[in-house]
């Protein structure tokens, strides 16, 4: 066997947890999918919820329109959770739930459903994402203002460390920061700052709330905090990033929270690799990108992922089908079982390049962390961080546009044979049956009819009472509500009434204007057309529905401003009538809508209708986002002037189109004459 000098480990390491981020339609269909995935060798579950569940609305709520069961499974009550987990051995399963604003609620449903299966809380393993600050910064499924949200998080953590000790009650996410454009330094710095905000909130809450939490409670809390990170295609630096995070995390535990035991300070993370860089153009190339990104989180033993889920080749086209996800799972299995990756101790140990990279990243992160600290910590610095992310993303796109950053098949080497992968009748993606929404609506009504109304009313009253009492933990009342048959929307509504609601900053106002690079002609054209219009060309960028994908809208808004337009952008999660009202009141010349969550078929016609109702029906509308070709045609037929998708990566070209559209609709000659 191996001699002491051998670079090999005496035993190969156990592979990481292998998951597939999955779920759609209703609980029953998702349960079938999970069981099939487990049979294929998947070792953990990763639940994708639909947007109404994530933001706290029942399937029959007005805001849920077009979104039910689309991008994840709809879970409206205990009955749904039972079906979702049916036949899955929860005492052995490790379940990750991507759930944030409503994390306490979904955890409660999980706990009760497990109990009914005969599995006690202290046996449960898994993760609730539960990181609200990154929802404000990137992901968009927030519900309550920062203060009460931090309390909810602190309450779930305080509850979990004593009652569900093997559960990770929070996953601090850097993943979504990179997806919103963060540089490696920003990804490290902001996620650690977010972790500090959470830990401080828990510490404060433990000291002021009732109940005995035990001696070493902060050690245990620290030890239960895991991360959910990203890894881009620059996989060497990305690996260094993870080592840098591990170093900073250990240091934070020691210095700020006095965590004595080394095992509690270990940097534990799960990962979904970068999806922002996956392209619509030549989508087959994405498979290589995903493989290289997977190396970033597996190569070095001392900073290796505990759990991995990979996107699929068709990421930028639409939702993956089971086969697409299987293809990505196989990549993990090849990496773990065919290669020799798991046979060695840390292969970067002693590498000057790696150590140098780590040192650089740590230094950069410290600087950025102190900036956030000066602003009063992550909660206070949300506006600042959001602005910084938008600025970084703008820089990323600028480099792609001018060719500094090569994206094979998109801005270079674009010649291609037709791809057989997208030739099928389904266009290579999963489309959720529109009947699901109707079924889910009917089902939640049936559920409400069958439960004990008094028990529900009492549970909701108790929940509201506890919410008003800052010294009490919200988890017990939440678990009681789950048991009483309360619905997701009712739980969230009770809290909205006490806590109020919140709109996150857009980050676009802070972005300084770009230098003229490539913009001179656009600016001149905007000036000329504005002169002819009588006032400056004005654009409204709108995000209808629950969709939180803001990158595209933000970058279009900023670029239009840089081209000289006046721009209204009010952020995510607006109703069609809010958008139409803004368009009419603001007297805009053109409306640009952005939808990536797949609800365009319902929401775009609704916006057009609302514009008609507000008397702004002459205003031309363009649409961008994840819009399959077949839908683009029907949107154009409904009156949309143009449809853009990720393959339209040249922002200036789209802006030029928009300027020309405004000119044409107002009878102004499109090119400069004389």
């Amino acid at each position: 066997m191996s001699s002491p000098k051998s670079p090999r480990l005496p035993e190969p390491d156990r592979p990481w947890l292998m998951r597939t981020y999955a779920g759609h339609s209703d609980a029953r269909r998702s349960n079938e999918l999970y069981r099939r995935n487990l049979e294929k060798g998947q070792t953990g579950l990763s639940v994708a919820f639909d947007l109404p569940t994530q933001t706290g609305y029942d399937p029959d709520h007005e805001l849920a329109r077009g979104e039910v069961g689309k991008v994840g499974v709809s879970i409206a009550h205990l009955g749904d959770m039972r079906s979702l987990l049916h036949g899955i051995p929860l005492e052995k399963m490790n379940t990750s739930m991507t759930i944030n604003a409503t994390a306490a609620w979904l955890l409660a449903l999980y706990v009760v459903a497990a109990q009914e299966q005969g599995v006690a809380q202290d046996k449960l393993q898994g993760t609730t994402q539960n990181d609200i600050l990154k929802e404000y910064l990137s992901r968009g499924t927030y519900s309550f203002p920062p203060g009460p949200s931090m309390r909810l998080i602190a309450d779930t953590i305080a509850h979990a460390v004593t009652h569900i000790p093997k559960w990770n009650p929070i996953n601090i996410c850097s993943y979504h920061l990179q997806e919103a454009g963060a540089t490696p330094v920003q990804e490290i710095a902001y996620s650690i700052c977010n972790a500090i905000a959470v830990l401080d909130a828990v510490r404060e809450r433990l000291s002021t709330s009732r109940g005995d939490h035990g001696e070493d409670v902060m050690d245990r809390v620290f030890g239960r905090i895991s991360f959910f990170v990203n890894a881009g295609v620059r996989f060497v630096e990305e690996h260094a990033k993870l080592r840098a995070m591990a170093q900073l995390w250990d240091e934070l535990g020691r210095e700020r929270y006095g965590v004595g035991e080394e095992r509690h300070r270990r940097f534990r993370y799960g990962v979904q690799v970068n999806s922002l860089g996956l392209t619509e153009s030549q989508p087959e190339n994405n498979v290589y990108r995903i493989a290289l990104e997977a190396l970033a989180v597996t190569l070095g033993r001392s900073a290796r992922a505990r759990a991995i889920q990979l996107p699929a080749w068709n990421e930028a086209l639409g939702l993956p089908r089971p086969w697409d996800q299987q293809w990505s799972l196989r990549l993990q299995q090849i990496l773990a079982y065919e290669t020799d990756l798991l046979e060695y101790s840390d292969i970067f140990d002693g590498s000057r390049v790696m150590d140098g990279l780590v040192a650089q990243l740590v230094e950069g992160a410290r600087e950025e962390m102190s900036r956030v600290a000066e602003l009063g910590g992550a909660v206070e610095a949300v506006d600042y961080m959001k602005g910084a992310l938008v600025a970084s993303h703008r820089e990323r796109l600028r480099k792609i546009e001018n060719g500094e950053q090569v994206v094979v098949g998109m801005n270079r080497f674009t010649q291609s044979e037709p791809s057989p992968l997208v030739a099928g009748a389904d266009g290579g993606i999963l489309v959720v049956d529109p009947a699901v929404e109707r079924e889910c609506r009917a089902a939640v009504r049936r559920w409400r009819d069958q439960r004990d109304p008094d028990a529900v009313a009492r549970a909701l009253e108790e929940l509201a009472r506890v919410a008003r009492d800052e010294h009490e933990n919200l988890m017990p009342a939440t678990i009681a509500a789950a048991r009483a048959g309360v619905t997701t929307g009712e739980w969230a509504q009770a809290l909205r009434e006490v806590f109020g609601e919140y709109r996150a900053p857009t980050g676009v106002g802070e972005a300084a204007a770009l230098p003229a690079e490539g913009l001179v002609e656009l600016r001149e054209e905007v000036e000329r057309i504005s002169e002819a219009l009588g006032r400056r060309m004005k654009l409204l960028v709108g995000k209808p529905g629950l969709d939180g994908h803001s990158n595209g809208a933000e970058q279009i808004a900023v670029r239009a401003r840089d081209a000289g337009m006046d721009v209204i952008y009010e952020g995510i999660r607006l109703t069609p009538s809010q958008i139409a009202t803004s368009a009419a009141q603001e007297g805009v010349h053109v409306v640009g809508l952005s939808i990536l969550s797949g609800s365009h078929r319902e929401l775009i016609p609704a916006v057009l209708e609302a514009l008609r109702a507000s008397g702004a029906d002459q205003v031309p509308v363009v649409v961008g986002g994840i819009i399959p070709d077949a839908d683009a045609a029907s949107l154009r037929a409904a009156g949309v002037a143009a449809v853009y998708t990720p393959k339209d990566w040249d922002l200036n070209r789209m802006i030029a189109d928009i300027i020309a559209l405004v000119a044409q609709r107002n009878g102004i000659a499109a090119t400069v004459s004389g």
Partner: protein
């Protein structure tokens, strides 16, 4: 855009009937720089002037000003809800800075102001400064006067301004200055006399606790030492649960009740005429009417009933003659 333009006479008539739905068209017209539109705009201003109405427009004209990011828009959002509860119709004119480099602007206030799209008695319009100093956009004054005919409350949110850009004081009946807790700027400006004492001082972000309480105390002491102890001083929080909003509304109402409205509006019209004249004819034009001071003195001698276009014309004649 938005349908065939409605003629100025009809716009004026509908404003006089307090039809709030013409507000977008009114703004489209007033923002336009095309000569034909400007003639129409002037006609509309005339037809809604106090001379034409036979009285000052009834709205309460309120200016909200203060440094960038202090919480002006968030506060407006809360005020708006509270005014609607009192059944008052509200128009908001939000002014944002234009980027010098590109000429464009991101109009960000609206994102912080919650509007019920079904509520026709609320109107929010964002306008960029187009490089103008002073905190307002070129059409803001005229828009405020026109909308004051149809709405109960017209609020102007200025760009986040420093101490020297308080043009809004010439337009509004009541000016509220919003102060960042823990920042001594306003205090210093007041003490040094750089800034005029506002009608209402608002300490924002009261939920931040100690810093807000300290600012409140410091400002109170300063007002006292400046013999302005009756200036209203209110602390508000605009994030849920909002606090201080009713108190602020009471302070705004009390100030309005104490005003000689016709004197204040007369002053506002004269200042607007001067501003319009200056933006049209520049420094040289101003010199020709005896500078700012000289022009103000000259305007003060004119008939109280004259509307803004007429006053501008008088200035132009004087400069030309």
């Amino acid at each position: 855009m938005n349908g065939p333009p409605i003629g100025s006479a009809e716009l004026a008539a509908r404003l006089r009937e307090r039809d709030t739905t013409v507000a977008p068209a009114v703004l489209n017209l007033l923002e336009s720089r095309s000569p034909a539109m400007r003639a129409q705009a002037e006609a509309m201003v005339r037809a809604t002037s106090p001379a034409a109405l036979g009285a000052e427009a009834g709205a309460h004209l309120i200016g909200i000003t203060g440094p960038p990011g202090v919480g002006k828009s968030s506060l407006l959002s809360q005020l708006l809800a509270a005014w609607r509860q009192r059944d008052r119709s509200v128009a908001v004119l939000a002014v944002d800075p234009t980027s010098r480099r590109s000429g464009g602007a991101l109009l960000g206030d609206r994102a912080r102001i919650d509007v019920d799209p079904a509520d026709r008695a609320v109107f929010v319009r964002s306008t960029a400064t187009s490089g103008r100093l002073g905190g307002l956009a070129a059409p803001t004054r005229a828009a405020a006067s026109a909308l004051a005919v149809a709405f109960d409350v017209v609020v102007i949110e200025t760009v986040g301004v420093g101490q020297s850009e308080t043009e809004v004081a010439d337009v509004a009946d009541t000016v509220a200055v919003v102060v960042q807790p823990g920042s001594g700027d306003v205090l210093q400006f007041l003490k040094a006399g750089i800034m005029e004492i506002p009608d209402v001082l608002v300490v924002a972000k009261a939920d931040l606790g100690a810093a807000a309480r300290r600012s409140l105390a410091d400002l109170g002491a300063t007002l006292h030492s400046l013999h302005a102890a009756d200036t209203a001083l209110v602390a508000v929080s605009s994030i849920p649960p909002p606090t201080g909003i009713d108190e602020l509304i009471a302070a705004l109402d009390a100030h309005r009740a104490s005003l000689d409205i016709s004197a204040r509006r007369l002053h506002a019209r004269r200042m607007q005429a001067l501003a319009d004249f200056a933006s049209e004819h520049g420094e040289r034009g101003l010199r020709a009417v005896g500078g700012h001071r000289g022009a103000e003195r000259y305007l003060a001698e004119q008939d109280r009933g004259l509307d803004v276009p007429a006053l501008v014309r008088l200035l132009e004649e004087r400069a030309g003659g």
